[in-house]
Amino acid sequence: MIEIFHPALILLLGAAVVPFLPQKVRGPVMLLLPVIGLSQLWAVEIGNHGLFTAFGHELVTFRVDRLARVFGIVFHIAAFIGILYALHVRDTIQQVSALVYAGAAVGALLAGDLITLFIWWELTAIASVFLILARRTEYARKVAIRYLIIQVGSGVILLAGIAVRVAETGSIAFNHIGLDSPGGLLILIAFGIKCAFPMLHSWLQDAYPAATVTGTVILSAFTTKLAVYTLARGFAGTEILIYIGAVMTAFPIFFAVIENDLRKVLAYSLNNQLGFMVVGVGVGTELALNGTAAHAFVHIIYKALLFMSMGAVLHRVGTIKASELGGLYKSMPATAIFCIIGSMSISAFPLFSGFVAKSMIMSGAAEAGYWGVSLILLFASAGVLDHSGIKVPYFSFFAHDSGIRCKEAPWNMLVAMFIAAFLCIFIGVFPGTLYSLLPYTVDYHPYTGAHIITQLQLLLFSMLAFVFLVRIGRYPPEIPSLNLDSDWLYRRLGPALVTRFSKAIDDGWGLLMGACGGIVSGAIARGYRLGQSTGPVSRTWRSASSITAILLLLALIGFSHYVSR
């Protein structure tokens, strides 16, 4: 036990210690924690560790296999980058909650049974909400409560699903679950909420842009990718996920194009990227699952990079509205370069990390025969280029000069961005390193002529379209506005409908009660007529009536036997 320590516990113990350290020491200590955790994770053998028996079930608190490990590695990298990026922040709440949140996410990855998973699952929700609350605005407080309700709701549904599943199978092992049973369906819904499935997604665009500058970077890394991991483990090859994923890739594009808040644009594109991973899980072949894991890996890094660059802008300028930004490349050249690297990664330019991962999923879908789906993915890739690849850097750093002059981002942000950008390019150039970590053996070559030419055609024509639209002035202008997303359904329409309905129900209830009252009073009146002392029941029966009753009963008994024989 001494030689191998659970990586999640390292982060959690760190979170317990950090508040008592002086601020100067905190930074190095916090940076050290994910490094130790990663070394522990790397050192442990593949297999089940940390076995306990509780509730009459065997808990597997520390399961390491290739699927969990690749996610674990990138979670630690993301934690490291996120902490480095936030090094200048002197906010104990954010520091602790970031560590607890990362630890909980790692713990959930390594959970080998559903009960352990549930405990970590809820902890991620509770820890992460402080990253939003830490912004300390009234708006952030409201968002945080909405976020917490949905995340804890997901946990409750997960618990219900686990209970049903355990009742059905008697096993709490967290392996392939599938949709064969109601328990599986509940668990899928719980995972789907965290994975921001269509119509369950709006918490993401609601919460991530509302968090602190540094909190968003941390938030974007863990929750959704944890959900992708659980889907890959529990529901690989579940066909409906392909279509869910395809919808996920496509629909956020429209919102992203018209959105003004650039961090919100990134949140939509996060949703779109998750769609690729969900498609990969749904296809469920080795290639597709490898693609999902690889995409999650690179996505965490380049999405963090993009959020970091936008966070740096927000940090320096104080706004992140596209309509108020522009021309920042003069003030923040390094940030601009890192942002472009992130953009090229997410757009899957060859030699950038997105290319080597995303193409695996698309090839996987195509190989499995889902041509329609791969076309949607293709369209979505073009859309990604448009909103994340061009729109984000274009409107913040170029476009019309807003006249804003500010300082370059702080050094720790730049270093964090540099590391992320370096990884983006490194993985893009040397995909073998990443491929060697993937769950299944990889026999895939991204840099074939066909792949490169297809991708470049796609990218260049998308850029052409963007340029053309901007030139003729038809590109949706950046105007200060709020977009209505599906959360409008439950935040505005729902209450309105509920008010309307409750009145209708009220009226209907009144009518129903009136009718029931009528029936009851009718019954009472009838009872009164029957039962009053001169009524047919209560008045003293004549003997002849009784004798008639006797004879009728006798006849009835005889008759019923005559009929029934």
Binding site: G527, A549, I550, I557, S564
Partner: protein, 510 residues
Amino acid sequence: MSAAANTVSLASHLPVLQVAVPLIAAPIAFILGSLGAGESARRTSAEVCWWFTFAVSVAILAISGNLAATVMDGTVLSYELGGWAAPWGIEYRIDSVAAVALLIVSGINLITLLYAKHAVVREVPERIRGLFYTAWLLCVTGMLGICATGDIFNVFVFLEISSLSSYILISSGRDRLGLLAAYRYLILGTIGATFFLIGVGLLYGLTGTLNMADIATRLPALAGNQTLIVAFGFLAIGIAVKMALFPLHAWMPEAYTHAPSPVSALLAGTATKVAVYLMIRTMYTVFGVELAFDAMMLGVILITLSTVAVFFGSLAAIFQHNAKKIMAWSSVAQIGYMGIGAGLATVTGLTAAMLHMYNHALMKAALFMALGCLFWRIGSMQIDKLAGMGKRMPWTFSAFVLGGLSLIGVPLTAGFVSKWYLILGVLEQGWWWLAVLIVISSLMAVIYIAKLVETMWFREPAVDAPTGEAPLWLLLPTWALVILNFVFGIYTALPVGVARSAATALMGGN
């Protein structure tokens, strides 16, 4: 054989002594009661007569207690009357079911007799008191005999003994309507007994035997026989008339209303219970569950009629203006509960029926006795006359309220226990609607009890209303029964255990 019988102690003769003692005592009571000629001598002789009856009642309670203790472990006492072996001679057969019924009859008999001593002063003319106790003893004899005997013709004989004597008892009060009520009862009771006799005759024709156990062994071979169906119909209806099962109940509200209070209490506590016992005995032991319930559809008949009884009985009770009549109609409803339990043909259902036999005897006798206390003071049972009497007679009133709670089935009372088992038995069958109906009918019981309580407690008494409690001799037996209601509502193990073992024996012994 006779030599051997002589050497055996008195204990082996208990089954027949249970019946023979009150039977032989009856004419002695008559003689004792008719000795006095003058005014004071008549009073003395009535007094002597009561003490004699009391002694006999103590003796038969002791006997039935002894019998019950003997058979509770599952043994069955069989006594050959006159030394004639079973199929030819008359057999007295005491099993746990019979022992419970005997215990109810002799127990209620003793308590109501204690009560009768003073109650009759107001309600029964002095000159016929000797006759009253004679009839009382004969009535008890008949009911004990029905429970003890294993011979179905003997049952008819005892049925007639108890019926004829109860006609006398009902009409013995000062209330002239009692005569009319007794006459109605006479007509219907005789028809019921005749039906029973016709059924017995048909069974005898079919099987050539009158011994219940013997008939039971021969009947399964006759399944499908049309005569058997007719015999079943006559027996079932005959017993249902004695049970006062709706719609054959018409004699009961009148009879109980106009009988003297101790008679109402005695009959309400025992007569219908014995009829329920007879129904259970005939259908479960003689016909057997398969024949009675599968082939003859007794379950459908009983449960349908009983459910209707529960509702119409409660409904009619709500609207009555005479307090005793409310209780009498309530008995119609309560018989329905026993019928439902017996009609379920499951161990739980039978347990509920037998528990309710026992518990209803306790609660209804207590209520009639509480009403008798009121009558003793007021001289009327009309609701208007009861107004405000609760404050004037607090002990009587509280006894009535507590007995009423048991009747409603409030937890911690005996009534709750039996209703609980009844609902359990109904739910076992999945008949939740019937469970709902039972609960609703209990609410109806709340209404008619509350109606009386409201009258007695919340209304102002009339200006000329009498004051003062009922005499201690009336209150003591009443309170004894009320307390028993709570004792058996709290210590449920004994009655439930006995009822369950009896039910199991009936279900297993078919």
